[in-house]
């Protein structure tokens, strides 16, 4: 069976009261540098520590939409994921599917291109890749190109051809000269630079006020949140603990993250790559909710998203409670949900 009926989901607003601890928490994430808190938290046992009696099971996905599918199908309860797929599932389900309960990472995405492309003007007629249609980088590229005056469409036509391609494939195709560039998250930006001689044309950080834009958030199934707020709270405690660990062990972090990546994908990243990647990513529990309206507008503009309200996408009450208990500053839901 797929999902429980609609009526229960409104209970999510009552997240702080009632509910029971879940026997099991199924957590999803991607084997990416931008998901480092998940990798480290699992690797170091920080989540398990926080969850106590609740068993932690993890699933690693290749891309955000797959994680969303698992979340929708009830195969996982929470997942680390990019903001756009989160927005997407929220709008598609008329606000019933999931809630963002915390931020994870910001920064770490860029448009890298081949030699010979030195300004946005050189992009006319080129073919650029993104990780997947409608994912955070895909939307970013499309809306940036639109700002630059280029037309694009979701079927690969327009002035600049955008072909959503799997990251590994992108590297190969770029090396073969079949792609002129790609808007990618870390570590792929670094891989293209280090392994294939690409260079950065646009660093996404430059496009945002104060350079902060969300690349990863923590998304929880709305029913799970309503039913087991204690468990989610424990998860958030683990998450904050991991963020703290990353802060305190900056020197050790690349090795630990690389070990986790190797454990998941079978191949470690080059030291150069992992180092460069981490320089461009910042980890924080603040989801930067204020940016989401812009993200929605970008998605609409890019044609990868349906129009709809994201009111209620955030439920940061638990996060703020935990932050408060730790004596930290609360974060804002930017009028898009509970704080």
């Amino acid at each position: 069976s797929v999902q429980s009926a609609a009526g229960e989901t409104t209970a999510a607003t009552d997240a702080t009261s009632g509910g029971t601890p879940a026997a099991e928490l199924r957590l999803g994430y991607l084997a990416n540098v931008t998901h480092a808190p998940a990798l480290v938290g699992v690797q170091q046992g920080l989540f398990e520590e926080a969850l106590g009696d609740t068993t932690l099971t993890t699933q690693v996905f290749n891309a955000g939409p797959a994680a969303i599918e698992a979340l929708t199908a009830g195969a996982i309860d929470a997942t680390f994921i990019g903001p756009n797929p989160s927005i997407n599932t929220f709008i598609q389900s008329a606000g019933e599917s999931a809630r963002i309960v915390a931020g994870v990472a910001t920064g770490g995405a860029a448009l890298v291109v081949r030699d010979g492309i030195d300004s946005p003007d050189d992009l006319e007629g080129t073919t650029l890749a993104t990780p997947q249609l409608g994912n955070t980088q895909d939307v970013a590229l499309r809306s940036w190109l639109a700002d630059e005056g280029y037309t694009t469409d979701t079927s690969g036509g327009g002035d600049v051809h955008i072909t959503p391609t799997e990251n590994a494939q992108t590297l190969t195709l770029f090396q073969q000269g079949q792609l002129d560039g790609a808007w990618l998250p870390e570590p792929w930006v670094s891989r293209l630079i280090v392994d294939a001689g690409a260079h950065v044309l646009v660093d996404e950080a430059d496009l945002w006020d104060d350079g902060h834009f969300p690349t990863t958030v923590l998304l929880v199934n709305a029913d799970f949140l309503a039913g087991h707020p204690q468990t989610v709270e424990a998860l958030l405690e683990g998450h904050l603990a991991t963020l703290g660990w990353l802060d305190e062990n900056a020197a050790e972090a690349p090795t630990v993250i690389n070990a986790a990546l190797e454990a998941e994908t079978g191949k470690p990243l080059a030291d150069e790559v992992i180092t460069r990647s981490l320089e461009h990513v910042a980890f924080s529990a603040d989801p930067h909710a204020e940016t989401f309206t812009t993200l929605v507008e970008n998605g609409l503009e890019a044609g990868t998203q349906k129009d709809g309200s994201i009111d209620g996408l955030f439920d940061l009450r638990l996060l703020n409670a935990v932050l408060e208990a730790a004596g930290a500053e609360p974060v804002s839901a930017g009028d898009l949900g509970e704080e």
């Binding site: 797929v2 999902q3 009926a5 609609a6 891309a63 939409p65 969303i68 599918e69 929708t72 797929p85 997407n88 599932t89 598609q92 389900s93 008329a94 019933e96 599917s97 073919t127 890749a129 997947q132 249609l133 409608g134 994912n135 469409d153 979701t154 079927s155 690969g156 036509g157 072909t163 959503p164 391609t165 799997e166 494939q169 992108t170 195709l173 073969q176 079949q178 044609g303 990868t304 998203q305 349906k306």
Partner: protein, 331 residues
């Protein structure tokens, strides 16, 4: 063995007496006409003609095709009614139970998704791209499969060696060729065509072979007896006679083309590959847009059925009807 002693005429006369005729009025004139008829062979012939005409009339019942209206009410209407009822029930469920629209979109949502894709021009592009690839790939498969099939059907040793391999290839899901094709041809249209070819060609070859196999040996012998040489036997007898099997093979070949195409399009997204229905399906999936997925499935189904109804069904029906092989289904 019980029978009469036929060695003498006396015995016969005796046995004849035993027959009582109930209908003497009818039989007596019958015998008279019999006697009269012998006088003229012209009369004989006319007699034979009228008898044959009567028998022909009795033995050939005019083929009664069901009326268009009856065919409509018995075979077109029921499925339409069923589908309409199904859609109504679906809509009702959506209205009453209000399920999550990303898990159970309503029929209206699906229609909206189709309209939206149409207005954005994506639907048209996808349909044209896919149809183009499907038809073109199918035609290449026909161009390769037909001579290959003829060769295998007519050259026995070749067939013994290659035939089982081709049948084996028919067992292999053509989707399995996609990864290999991607490695060989990258994310280009060549990949798609390769997969379509590997999917459709075995069916066409096997169809032609079984068509030639099913040519009644009697027809070949008739051709030989009528004085046809090897070439005229092939063109005047074997080829037309194997048409039903060939058309069946073509039909199946098209089905496999379409299947393989969709598989290839769903899997090989990105790169330099064009935007087809499979890509559209995959896109809707990545966007968690179930209404879009169902809309695309519907379009794929419709195209499959349309090609069948508009192209193959009339072709096959006409051919079978001309040969009297068409069995009107059900009463």
């Amino acid at each position: 063995m019980p029978h009469e002693d036929d060695s003498g005429s006396a015995g016969r006369v005796a046995t004849k007496e035993r027959i009582e005729t109930a209908d003497t009025e009818a039989s007596a004139p019958g015998l008279d006409t019999l006697a009269d008829a012998r006088h003229s062979t012209d009369d004989d012939h006319n007699d034979l003609r009228s008898l044959e005409a009567g028998l022909d009339r009795l033995q050939t019942a005019p083929e009664r095709r069901p009326s268009a209206w009856r065919r409509f009410t018995t075979s077109v209407l029921p499925p339409i009614v069923f589908v309409v009822a199904l859609v109504a029930a679906w809509q009702l469920y959506v209205v009453i139970a209000e399920p999550r629209p990303d898990i159970v979109p309503g029929p209206l949502g699906v229609v909206a998704a189709i309209t939206q894709a149409w207005e954005a021009g994506r639907l048209q592009e996808a349909v044209v791209t896919s149809l183009e690839r499907g038809v073109f790939g199918f035609l290449i498969a026909v161009a390769i499969g037909t001579p290959l099939g003829l060769l295998l059907a007519e050259v026995k040793p070749l067939r013994r060696a290659v035939g089982p391999i081709i049948s084996g290839l028919q067992v292999l899901p053509s989707v399995a060729w996609v990864p290999a094709a991607i490695i060989w041809f990258g994310l280009t249209d060549a990949t798609v065509y390769f997969v379509v070819l590997m999917g459709a060609t075995p069916s066409i070859v096997n169809g032609l072979i079984s068509g030639v196999d099913q040519v009644p040996p009697q027809l070949r012998r008739v051709g030989t007896v009528l004085g046809a040489g090897r070439w005229r036997l092939a063109t005047h007898v074997v080829l037309p006679a194997s048409l039903p099997g060939y058309v069946a093979g073509l039909k199946q070949g098209w089905a496999f083309s379409w299947r393989s195409l969709m598989a290839a399009e769903i899997i090989t997204t990105g790169g330099a590959i064009g935007f087809g229905l499979g890509s559209m399906l995959d896109q809707s999936r990545t966007l968690a847009d179930l209404a879009g997925v169902l809309a695309t499935i519907l379009v794929i189904l419709t195209i499959g059925i349309l090609i069948e109804l508009v192209f193959f069904a009339p072709l096959e029906r006409r051919m079978l009807r001309r040969r009297g092989l068409l069995v009107e289904r059900g009463r």
